[in-house]
């Protein structure tokens, strides 16, 4: 089948999609956007988190056909030519080690800060609780989100 969707603001078309394919497979293997990750393909780890019409979802649990006509934002769409505040903060705070969880965490953290610009630690933990990280112990991820919130606040 053919799937039409908007990815990071650009209309995209995927052809010869098998009905059982996930949105994650279409993004990674058909549209050349491997930034969304495939850590579990079971909806448990959040590494494939993208926004579907603004809502964070696990792209591995969305059938490709369900994305027909909808807006998808992936990690590739977070910065506009330069790094976004959250991306910059993840580097500066040391929140990236192997980096496999990073794209999903960035999409989730970006969405958190959009609706809650000054989150408490408990808010951050709750918002990121669907994203597994095996390297960092999460401390520096918390640091990064705090830092991004502070910088976004300063930037006004």
């Amino acid at each position: 089948m053919r799937v039409n969707l908007t990815v990071n603001g650009r209309p995209q078309q995927a052809d010869d999609v098998w009905e059982g394919e996930s949105l994650l497979y279409v993004l990674r293997e058909r549209l050349g956007l491997p930034g969304s990750k495939n850590a579990c393909e079971q909806g448990e780890c959040g590494s494939c988190t993208v926004r579907l019409d603004g809502v964070p979802v696990c792209a591995c649990l969305v059938a490709a056909g369900q994305a027909e006509g909808r807006e998808v934002v992936t990690v590739e769409g977070l910065g506009e030519g330069e790094l976004s505040a959250v991306q910059r903060a993840f580097i500066d705070a040391g929140a990236v080690q192997c980096g496999f969880c990073t794209p999903g965490l960035l999409v989730a953290a970006d969405e958190l800060l959009e609706h809650n610009p000054q989150p408490s630690d408990a808010d951050i933990r709750e918002a990121l609780s669907g994203n597994l990280c095996r390297c960092t112990g999460y401390e520096k991820i918390l640091d990064a989100v705090r830092l991004a919130a502070a910088r976004r606040g300063e930037a006004g």
Partner: protein, 786 residues
């Protein structure tokens, strides 16, 4: 297949330099092994055994081959050359050869034009199995009528093991335990058990094999040690090593789980058979079968101490389950035996560690490598002894803590700082989290801070706090006489008027930050700003494994050594070109700083760019840490380890005693790192290792059915790793006491924090509940008795 290298400015050793691959990783551009793509590529898939022990009567691949889109199906019968491989002992079949010995053992391979087609074709292969009895623990594996899993062993351990289903056994004997027992004022003993932990790295096993015109193959792969893979793959393909060219692609974590081969040889076999590039990517279900796990263990300890609280003796036995194939079991046994009494001075020791062959999943390397299991047991024993003697847990440990100058039970002198008591003192001195920390300013509870969290199971009723301490000892580097070297090639040339350095090693960057540290070392040694890290591949000599907390020490040492050789070449060029213009060129101590040749007094002699002109200087160097010795097979005596590392934890937990739910409130760590080359990365390693220890304490276990040896929970739904809600604040106190034997005085960082985290959490739960808790992970039913 990005091969441009990583370039970054700034950051010398001791500075919290950001990662050179950070930007690629936050934009989604970093090419992990599972992201690779090639024109006309096929997808490989593995058919695995549903049984833990069975004879294969027949395999019919015709139904799979008949499917549209399937290019080939391979079984054991199709293997062109060597049929077995292994890290230490070549006992692992590339594809099952008539018998499967564990659940999930690879039986056949499929290559097809879509991953789902490959999976469906694999499911159509008809394998007729005849199930065989399974051995799953010490008593069944060493029973008189036990099936011998590897009957024709020729490995070096075969001659001295008491039973052919024992991979390796290592005693460590010191002093006279029987006599010491007579003098003991208190004796405590206990039986402990550690469940099977999984590395659960997030980037699944993946790679892309591309057949080459010369009959060889190019493999782009996520691994921990390119050259060890190469040494095992080439014989399986029947190719000389120079026709198997390996390049490291992005690695999504490792933690020991990529030390053994997974899909490397399989993808190459499929690519060479079909003549097309073949990509293989495991999903999470398959990943649980695709790599070895941490050895589950049963441990028995007996300790005696005198009236003053000094340890007199320890008698211990550690039985590790190695599963169906050897992997790195022999080295894990060596660690368990030699580190198994912990960081304490004990004059009389009778220790025995062994690993079994069973039909359980194969076990091998995982962060902490043989030292984790023992630490859970000996730290529980320390708390029992302290309680018997009426001493606090920190005070009892302080009285027995080893220090520089102590002698290990192996007879090895500890000849660099070992601040065991100081690390405990530091974690104890930290302020405790406030009581009833879940209460908000208005007094209402924030359930997110309580056991059970948003399940809203308590508002503080039945919640009891406990505090626990633990400390551990881990070796750094490969031990027991292993030739543990690393290679670095460093090049300096002038580009755009600036001196630029390229560092080329085969070090596997798996997330630990080695690429950052290599650039920091090059900037420090060569006084340049711009350093490029060349992609890791097998066109340069081996860097050894990214394991054993060794890469900064050993490959860092090799980079430093190669940089020193490059500096000498630069200075030689300078002396030849400018020596006659200034007498200072004759000085022995000239340095490269800020792009210039300077005297040790700071006088500038020439810009490096002018010294080099159009020339490039390059040096490739192998570097070795000091040699070690094998342990004596009967007494365990020997200078076995390169370096020791130490970490201590204090855990604060709150337990809902009615429901058996545990919330870890804080997990503080103090660790000696010798010298923090990158403080930000060091803290990240300590916090990450600490969290994996927390996982083992309260949630992580691969559950294997004891009757069938089948894995019950191969998913992130059923194998739980800590989320950000399960993980507490982790304050870190880094101590830097230089080890004079190591480059820059550094001490390997990665593993020590994984050891003591687990027993500290369990000690805290014991304090909260009064329960014995001799097994990890601790589950709710262990706390409620239901």
């Amino acid at each position: 297949m990005r091969s441009t290298g990583l370039t970054q400015l700034g950051g010398r050793i001791g500075e919290s330099t950001p990662r050179p691959d950070g930007t690629l990783k936050v934009t989604g551009e970093f090419a992990y092994a599972s992201d690779l793509w090639h024109e006309d590529m096929l997808w490989g898939c593995t058919l695995r055994s549903p049984y833990a022990h069975a004879r294969i009567r027949s395999i019919d691949i015709a139904p799979a081959l008949a499917m549209a889109g399937v290019h080939t199906v391979l079984t054991h019968a199709d293997l062109p050359a060597a049929t077995r491989y292994g890290l230490e002992i070549q006992d692992t079949p590339v594809l099952a050869d008539g018998v499967v010995r564990h659940h999930g053992e690879p039986v056949a391979l499929v290559a097809a034009d879509h991953p789902e087609t490959a999976r469906r074709a694999a499911a159509r292969i008809v394998v007729e199995y005849q199930q065989l009895p399974v051995v799953t623990d010490e008593s069944s594996a060493t029973a008189e009528d036990a099936p011998v899993l590897h009957p024709d062993r020729t490995d070096p351990h075969a001659a001295h093991v008491p039973h052919p289903n024992i991979v390796h056994r290592q005693p460590v004997i010191r002093g006279d335990v029987a006599a010491a027992r007579q003098r003991a004022h208190v004796i405590v003993s206990g039986d402990y058990e550690v469940g099977m932990q999984d590395q659960a790295f997030l980037g699944p096993e993946s790679g892309l094999a591309v057949p080459a015109e010369d009959g060889g193959v190019d493999l782009y792969i996520a691994t921990q040690w390119l050259h060890a893979d190469l040494r095992q793959i080439a014989p399986v393909l029947g190719l000389p090593e120079n026709k198997v060219r390996m390049t490291l692609s992005g690695v999504g974590g490792a933690f020991g789980g990529r030390e053994d081969l997974s899909m490397q040889a399989h993808a190459c076999l499929l690519a060479l058979r079909t003549g097309k590039p073949v990509k293989m990517v495991y999903n999470r279900f398959e990943s649980f079968f695709g790599h070895v796990h941490r050895h589950p263990a049963r441990l028995h300890y007996e300790h005696g101490a005198d009236r003053d609280g000094r340890l007199l003796f320890v008698k211990a036995r550690i039985v590790l389950d190695g599963g169906a194939y050897a992997s790195s079991s022999p080295a894990v046994v060596g660690n368990a035996a030699s580190l198994g009494i912990g960081p304490y001075e004990v004059p009389h020791v009778d220790m025995e560690a062994l690993a079994l062959y069973t039909n359980n999943p194969p076990c091998g390397a995982m962060r902490g490598f043989g030292a984790v299991q023992a630490c859970f047991a000996y730290e529980a024993q320390m708390d029992k002894l302290a309680a018997e003697l009426g001493l606090g847990p920190v005070e009892f440990r302080r009285r027995n803590a080893m220090s520089q100058g102590s002698v290990m039970p192996t007879g090895q002198l500890v000849d660099s700082p070992a601040p065991v008591a100081e690390l405990l003192r530091r974690v104890k001195a930290l302020p405790l989290p406030p009581p009833r920390q879940w209460e908000t300013a208005g007094g209402a509870p924030d359930v997110r801070a309580l056991p059970g969290g948003l399940s809203n199971t308590t508002h503080g009723e039945g919640v009891v706090r406990g505090v626990g301490y633990a400390v551990g000892i881990k070796n750094v580097g490969f031990s027991e006489g292993f030739d543990d070297y690393s290679t670095a090639r460093v090049r300096m040339e002038v580009i755009g008027g600036e001196p630029v350095v390229t560092v080329h090693t085969a070090m596997a960057e798996v997330g630990q930050g080695g690429v950052t540290v290599h650039a920091q070392i090059a900037r420090t040694e060569l006084g340049v700003e711009q350093v490029t890290i060349h992609p890791a591949d097998t066109r340069v000599g081996s860097a050894g494994s990214t394991s054993a907390s060794r890469q900064t020490y050993v490959t860092g040492g090799a980079v430093k050594h190669a940089c020193e050789a490059v500096r000498e070449q630069v200075l030689a060029l300078g002396r030849a070109r400018f020596g006659t213009f200034h007498p200072a060129w004759g000085q022995a101590e000239l340095l490269l700083e800020n792009g210039k040749v300077v005297t040790d007094g700071g006088e500038v002699l020439a810009p490096i760019a002018e010294v080099l002109g159009g020339e490039a200087v390059e040096s490739e160097r192998e570097w070795r840490h000091r040699p070690t010795q094998p342990f004596d097979p009967h007494t365990g005596q020997g200078f076995g380890h390169v370096q020791y590392s130490f970490a201590a934890h204090r855990a604060v937990v709150e337990v809902d005693t009615e429901l058996g739910l545990v919330k870890v409130i804080e997990l503080a760590c103090a660790q000696d790192v010798g010298k923090a080359l990158n403080p930000l990365s060091v803290t990240g390693q300590i916090q990450g290792g600490t969290t994996q220890g927390l996982g083992l304490a309260v949630m992580e276990e691969i559950v294997v059915d004891p009757a069938t040896a089948r894995v019950r929970n191969p998913s992130f739904t059923d194998y739980l790793i800590p989320t950000i809600l399960d993980t507490p604040a982790i304050p870190v106190d880094v101590l830097e006491l230089a080890d004079e034997h190591a480059p820059y005085g550094l001490r390997g960082v990665g593993e020590a924090p994984t050891l003591s985290s687990t027993p500290a959490v369990v000690a805290a739960i014991r304090q909260a509940t009064g329960l014995a808790l001799n097994r990890v992970p601790v589950r709710p039913e262990h706390l409620t008795g239901t």
